[in-house]
């Protein structure tokens, strides 16, 4: 009996691995997600079989409630809100691990009266720490992203020393809890400190840096699941948790590298929207404007177009109208493709999801390395709500904070039209000299509204 369940766990571990493997190719990605979901179902089913089902009506009630909520959120959420949703779910996952660890602890100390053995106790303490930080940290990240609390970094004097003190307090309380497993007061101390740590470490980080934080917390939630696996001596928890842990760390690294900042720099906070001061602005950038009609005429006259989408496209929800623009161009036999920067937007792969949502075939979305050599041969580049990812300072100005970050060479094209609302800065809070280049024309206005107008002009031509 028990061996069959172990075999089921083994199979579900393999399904998770195969799922992640298949998720790595566009063609098989959906299948991969299904593999991994089947693995999850199998693990759940195997666990249910071990339980005394009849006496557990509560279990089914809980699953029904949770399932209904999950289903509802997943169907309602807009594609632009994925970061918020991942933050929320991540927090739930962290809290779940946290609660499982505590449930085991209280069971052993209160009722069964067998103290947890030392490995067990350490696993519980680690799980409480990581789970607690994941929970409150993710919640703050969610609230910041959703605008429920201000996105600007909240800093105060003595913040870092306070965090340090809390960490030390956690270690001391952890040792005490380890030595006196029966004494619940230490465990309650651990709970409070870990929840506080989650809040205090995320609060000082700017709203725009939240995706990095979420990815890191995603990795933590995997580690929390691992720790739970050590508590329950359960392999499938360890395998699945490790996969999530690895995935979170890699995505975090990718984002940091693409922003040309270290993880410490992100976590120490205070960056984000505050940096952009008017101090030491270079010479004022003089730009040339272009109107909607001229833009439409330009589109009518070229033979190749590359679109560089950015965060502004997501804000304006302009992806659908861009598809219409593409259809107009293809009617005119214009070669129309998208140049995708790996960290355009606020999430890795953000643009791909939005453009896929607008029903644009993924073979039109070309990654940075493959497309960068094509810019010089392109007649017209349309930059939609992107800014940092086309800032030539990353190539040319060693003083710039983004110097060294790989960018799309939009400036090398014959003509560049930049569609944004104003001369507003991007995520990195710095000027973009591209806007003043001789081959660059500014098309001011909200991306969706402006491009809608361009499309209707084109339709009339």
């Amino acid at each position: 009996m028990s061996i069959l369940i172990q075999v089921a766990y083994l199979i579900s571990s393999i399904l998770f691995i195969l799922g992640i493997k298949k998720l790595g190719k566009t063609k098989s990605a959906r299948e991969g997600n299904i593999y991994s979901a089947v693995g999850m179902l199998l693990a759940i089913a195997a666990t249910l079989v071990t339980l005394n089902i009849l006496s557990c009506v509560e279990i089914f009630v809980c699953i029904l409630i949770g399932g209904a909520i999950g289903l509802y959120i997943s169907q309602k959420v807009e594609m632009t809100k994925i970061p918020e949703m991942v933050a929320l779910f991540n927090g739930f996952g962290g809290l779940a691990s946290f609660a499982v660890a505590l449930s085991d602890y209280f069971l052993k100390t209160q009722s069964v009266d067998t103290y947890p053995d030392s490995i067990n106790a350490i696993s519980i303490i680690v799980s409480v720490l990581i789970g607690g930080i994941t929970f409150t940290g993710s919640m703050i990240a969610y609230l910041k992203l959703d605008g429920k609390i201000s996105g600007s970094p909240i800093t105060f004097k003595g913040q870092h020393p306070l965090n340090l003190i809390l960490l030390i307090a956690f270690i001391v309380a952890g040792v005490l809890a380890y030595l006196n497993p029966g004494d619940q007061i230490f465990m309650i101390g651990l709970i409070v400190i870990s929840l506080l740590l989650g809040i205090l470490t995320v609060i000082p980080i700017g709203g725009a840096d939240m995706p990095v934080v979420i990815s890191l917390l995603n990795s933590y939630s995997g580690m929390a699941a691992c720790a739970t696996g050590f508590i329950l001596n359960n392999n499938v928890l360890i395998v699945a948790g490790s996969l999530v842990g690895a995935s979170g760390i890699i995505l975090t690294q990718i984002m940091c590298k693409a922003m040309n900042r270290s993880l410490t720099n992100v976590l120490l906070g205070g960056f984000g929207q505050t940096v952009s001061g008017p101090a030491a602005d270079g010479p004022q950038i003089v730009v040339k404007e272009i109107g909607v009609e001229e833009t439409a005429m330009l589109f009518d006259s070229v033979s190749s177009v590359l679109v560089v989408p950015g965060y502004g496209m997501a804000v304006a929800q302009a992806q659908h109208v861009i598809r219409e623009l593409m259809e107009q161009c293809e009617k005119r036999n214009i070669d129309f493709k998208f140049a995708i920067h790996p960290v355009a937007g606020r999430m890795p792969g953000h643009m791909n999801v939005l453009l896929a949502e607008a029903n644009i075939s993924y073979d039109k979305l070309i990654e940075m390395e493959s497309i960068n050599d094509d810019f010089p041969n392109t007649d017209l580049v349309l930059v939609v709500g992107a800014n940092d990812v086309v800032n030539p300072a990353a190539r040319t100005n060693p003083q710039s904070p983004i110097y060294g970050m790989p960018i799309l060479n939009a400036d090398k094209a014959k003509t560049v039209i930049v569609c944004k609302r104003s001369m507003g800065k991007g995520y990195a809070g710095i000027e973009n000299e591209l806007f003043g280049y001789p081959n660059c024309l500014m098309l001011f206005g909200d991306a969706k509204q402006t491009i809608t107008k361009v499309v209707s002009e084109l339709k009339e031509m």
């Binding site: 799922g19 992640i20 998720l23 790595g24 990605a29 959906r30 997600n33 991994s36 999850m40 693990a43 666990t47 249910l48 339980l51 006496s55 509560e58 279990i59 809980c62 699953i63 409630i65 949770g66 999950g70 997943s74 169907q75 949703m85 739930f92 996952g93 779940a96 691990s97 609660a99 499982v100 505590l102 449930s103 085991d104 209280f106 209160q110 490995i119 995997g222 699941a225 739970t228 696996g229 359960n234 392999n235 499938v236 928890l237 948790g241 996969l243 999530v244 690895a246 979170g248 890699i250 995505l251 790996p342 890795p348 792969g349 791909n352 999801v353 896929a356 993924y362 979305l365 940075m368």
Partner: protein, 95 residues
Amino acid sequence: MNADSLLILIYILVLASYLGFELITKVPPTLHTPLMSGSNAISGITIVGALIACNEMGYSTLSKWLGMLALILATINVVGGYMVTDRMLKMFKKK
């Protein structure tokens, strides 16, 4: 748990983490958002822990409530995570 079984678990941890790194570094940027939400769904595996915790209920009210809380939350994470990833991936089409 004795030290021997701990070591075995560490073996599994090390091998699975290394395997995770090898597999995930191969995922192309296009799929990073689905990867994020998909791996988030996998982290809901803690639902297995929640079920086990619920099973031990009856002994202690506190443990019971904690287990049920964990179960609801983990279920949201699992169901929501997989569904939204699927919704996203369904949109990735080649025409």
